[in-house]
């Protein structure tokens, strides 16, 4: 119990940007074949340190086959809101779910170099208390820790819809399902919110049989993956509007609301448009009548390619789809970073006018039938994927694995894991030659969290002034 708020609690996004920069990054290490146990790599990101750009500590768990994917903090800046009633928590634990096993690890990173497992929640407890499986996105919110899941009950996770459950933010006990009225929501992926305005937005990937053994081409071509986003009354736990982005917009994944809570808009990335293989970003906003609206504001074209250079899955299309698999918005709500995992590009859009994004910068590394090397000459397998922006907006980190079985379909010849960083400075948006983390043999990498918070964790209860 602290007498003062945690030093990494920032009242507003602007104050978070001015706070001391990150010294460590925490990155998922996943064993794609389950041969080794998964873990969290602690990466030194302090350029003044002797071990800069190295993995300085690993928390390897006891079980195998968990498949780590996304994870998050037990507490973020929103815990500062007096409404939450627990303003004196520490940002200290990482909540790391196994997307395949449904096991959840609580990892204590108070001392990053001695980070260790604090508690393990067994899959049975998740199933029993929530009726959900395959936990995914973590956010700290008003009633505790919110965890989205990709599967419902039963062996293959299709017995009932997936949803969100709540965990106690101090004891990590699972409390139960979040939803009181889910409306038309029957798939799940990501979610985020605006706490003072009391709304939440959630998105859809697909049900477990549609992703666990790889992408199901027939389902994709018949538009059976998720293509709707849902708007919720956060505290009433009620779906107030379901918005269909159009069934050709397959896999509406990451939800990124503006960080300044006075704004009522945000973005959602769509992996692929099945009519033309484009990737897309939708801007969503609340109109003057309180109704939610959306508009496609960014499209990214596929690149034509000879079939012999393509993996079997794509040969029939004679093109490389961009595959927009992750997006991240800087804390000043100015730049939206868009990972084009297929093309091997990371795009930087100026979204100061959210209805008219402008491409401001672009980095090429990896990519299907391209495999652009890192500027240091070393390979970057797969393509740019999970992206995390430093709070001050000057450093953009990313890794390269999407999801074990999907990596193997889109990049059958690649293996490995890398984490790289691009600077956003007076020379524009460009990869840092000196920052390149090669993961230990047999491990791939996925989501990154930054010490003290980052651009896809913190929710703010106070506007920028």
């Amino acid at each position: 119990m602290n007498l003062r708020p945690d030093p990494t609690f920032h009242a507003s996004a602007k104050l978070a940007m001015q706070a001391p920069v990150e010294n460590y990054a925490f990155t998922v290490m996943l064993s794609p074949d389950g041969e080794q146990s998964d873990g969290i790599a602690v990466v030194d990101v302090n350029p003044k340190s002797k071990t800069y750009g190295e993995i300085v500590h690993q928390v390897i768990v006891d079980y195998k086959g968990d498949e780590f994917h996304h994870f998050g903090w037990n507490a973020c800046s929103s815990a500062l809101s007096p409404l939450t009633g627990h303003a004196f928590l520490e940002r200290r634990y990482l909540i790391v779910p196994g997307i395949r096993s449904s096991r959840i690890y609580i990892i204590d990173v108070k001392d990053p170099l001695k980070a260790k497992v604090h508690k393990v929640i067994e899959p049975e407890e998740v199933f029993e208390k929530t009726g959900y499986s395959r936990p995914h996105t973590i956010h700290c919110g008003p009633e505790g820790i919110y965890v989205s899941t990709l599967g419902g009950g039963g062996e293959d996770g299709t017995d009932g819809p997936p949803g969100i459950f709540i965990m106690d933010c101090e004891t990590f006990e699972i409390i139960g399902q979040y939803e009181m009225d889910r409306g038309a929501q029957d798939k799940h992926y990501d979610f985020w919110w605006n706490l003072p305005q009391d709304y939440m937005v959630s998105s859809e990937w697909g049900l477990p049989p549609q992703f666990e053994n790889g992408v199901v081409a027939e389902d994709l071509l018949s538009n059976k993956y998720g293509h709707s986003i849902h708007f919720w009354d956060l505290r009433k736990r009620k779906n107030i509007q379901t918005m269909d982005l159009g069934e050709n917009h397959q896999m509406a994944l990451e939800i990124r609301p503006a960080h300044d809570p006075t704004k009522s808009y945000g973005f959602c990335g769509v992996v692929v448009d099945t009519t033309n293989l484009q990737g897309a970003i939708f801007t969503w906003w609340r109109d003057d009548d309180g109704k939610w609206q959306s508009k496609k504001t960014i499209t990214i074209d596929p690149r034509p390619e000879k079939p012999e250079n393509l993996p079997p899955l794509l040969q029939g299309f004679e093109a490389v789809p961009p595959l927009v698999t992750d997006i991240d918005l800087s804390l000043d709500d100015k730049y939206l970073y868009v990972a084009c995992w297929g093309l091997g590009e990371m795009h930087q859009y100026d979204v100061s006018d959210p209805m008219n994004p402008v491409l401001a910068g672009k980095v090429e590394v990896g990519g299907i039938a391209k495999g652009t090397n890192h500027p240091n000459g070393k390979p970057f397998v797969y393509g740019p994927q999970m992206v995390e922006v430093s709070r001050d907006g000057k450093r953009v980190y990313w890794t390269n694995s999407l999801y074990s079985t999907w990596d193997d379909q889109f990049y059958p010849d690649d293996e490995g894991g890398q984490m790289v960083m691009a600077n956003n400075d007076e020379n524009g948006f460009h990869l840092d030659k000196d920052f390149y983390v090669d993961f230990p043999k047999g491990y791939r990498s996925h989501q990154i969290r930054l010490e003290g918070g980052d651009c896809s964790t913190d929710s703010f209860c106070y506007p920028n002034v």
């Binding site: 009242a11 500062l80 303003a87 004196f88 505790g144």
Partner: protein, 216 residues
């Protein structure tokens, strides 16, 4: 007598300073609505909720005080109740989760619930009962109706004075942060008063029992 009225005012300042009673919400409301007039409005809503919580606790006691012959017993039991609330808050360090389900804009409701959950009204009870007892001694034996009506109006005056002091204290902090110091100061001025608060309840309860038994 004067000392007890000062206690009413000081407890108001004390509650007002405590961020748990809501001043950070007033800052947030003014910033969210982007107009300064939202600040006094928010403080007013917080005050309303707090006042209702105070009067809601004091009134039942004012009703009981007409049982003049049990005055001391009632004051002792009230003191014990306040001590128990303090001990409960000391042992149960979990925060009331239901507060998180209140919509951020419903400040009066939030303030009422926060005051109830933290036993803010109870903290006033021993002081209030002390005032009633002294008033009674001063005025000599009155008809029961007269006594009851005196006690009820005292309850309203105590709750109003306390709430005014609370709003003043919280309002000063909120205004200074809003206009001059800025949000950065928010995390600097914010202290965890949980333990101090719980101990205050125990202290006030013990004082109530002591005063009752020693005929003050």
């Amino acid at each position: 007598m004067a000392a007890l009225w000062w206690a009413v005012i000081f407890s108001g300042f004390y509650h007002g300073i405590n961020p748990g009673m809501g001043w950070p919400l007033a800052v947030s409301a003014a910033l969210m609505e982007r107009k300064t007039s939202a600040l006094p409005k928010a403080l007013g809503m917080l005050a309303l909720g707090h006042f209702i919580a105070m009067i809601g606790i004091l009134l039942p006691f004012s009703m009981m005080m007409f049982l003049v012959q049990y005055e001391i017993e009632i004051r002792v039991v009230a003191g014990v109740l306040v001590i128990l609330m303090g001990l409960y808050l000391l042992i149960n360090r979990r925060h009331p989760k239901f507060l998180a389900r209140v919509h951020p804009a419903r400040l009066a409701l939030w303030s009422f619930l926060a005051a109830m959950a933290h036993g803010a009204g109870l903290m006033l009870v021993p002081i209030y009962l002390g005032i009633c007892a002294i008033a009674e001694n001063d005025t000599g034996h009155l008809a029961i109706e007269q006594l009851l009506s005196n006690n009820i109006s005292t309850a309203f005056i105590v709750a109003a004075t306390h709430t005014l002091a609370m709003t003043l204290a919280g309002g000063v902090i909120a205004t200074v942060i809003y206009y001059w110091l800025g949000l950065k100061f928010l995390s600097k001025t914010w202290f965890n008063l949980d333990i101090v608060w719980a101990l205050s309840l125990v202290l006030v309860g013990a004082f109530g029992i002591y005063a009752a038994l020693n005929g003050h």
